[in-house]
Amino acid sequence: MKKLLTLSIFLSACATSQLHHENELAADRQELARLEAELLTARADGRPVDCPRATQLGDNICRLSERICALVERLPPDPANTAQCTDARTRCAAARERVKASCPK
């Protein structure tokens, strides 16, 4: 009888732990679905863009353009490489303009 009682207590604890874990997962998935739906609605409504993301992407572009130019500087002089740097800097400036226009501070 004692063994049976011990067994049932452990099985019950085990099931409760799994249930708790699965409930948490289900809640997280629901929250994710809600946020996705909210994002889609915001886009359909033409609401403001995601400025933190836009800023981050603009920063990425400019960081990459600087890396490209730093690399070009270390290479033997070549008009094609110089053009790559110039092009990258132009893209950085355009990205900054785009972010500024969409996300005025």
Partner: protein, 146 residues
């Protein structure tokens, strides 16, 4: 006997394979803590375990979680001046394919850095240009949603 029973039950309870996505989230969090405490080798082991434990299927979720983990492994390798390992991790992530999204762009950046570290400047330039174009396209989508 009771102790044995308890151990068997506890093992059965804990051995049920948890959702891999949850394992990944926990692993990344653990890696963050380990890095904060200066334990780079520990963080690398945790991230490598995530990659090793990846399921064979899982679609886009599997792809992005693996690519993000491989990106972190590549960055760790670069921090340790191991360009070969960084290139290996980045290539493994890029081989998973996918859209031109931020996960792919991040992998291209670390791939470019690995080329740079090995003195392969022309290849690095090419890869950085690809990463820049992806970021540009993503920015365009972000500021001009459909």
């Amino acid at each position: 006997m009771k102790r044995l029973l308890a151990l068997v039950l506890l093992f059965a309870c804990s051995s049920r394979r948890p959702d891999w996505a949850v394992t990944v989230a926990q692993g990344h969090s653990e890696a963050d803590h380990l890095l904060d405490s200066g334990n780079r080798a520990g963080a690398r082991a945790v991230l490598e375990a995530i990659v090793a434990g990846a399921p064979d299927t899982g679609g886009e979720t599997r792809r992005v979680l693996l690519q993000d983990t491989l990106f972190r492994l590549a960055r760790l390798a670069l921090d340790e001046h191991d360009a070969a390992a960084a290139a290996r991790h980045a290539d493994a992530g890029l081989a998973l394919g996918g859209e031109d999204d931020l996960f792919v762009a991040n992998l291209l950046v670390v791939r470019g850095a690995a080329h740079e570290a090995r003195g392969e400047s022309a290849l690095a330039l090419d890869v950085y240009q690809r990463a820049l174009r992806i970021n540009e396209a993503l920015l365009q989508k972000t500021v001009s949603p459909p």
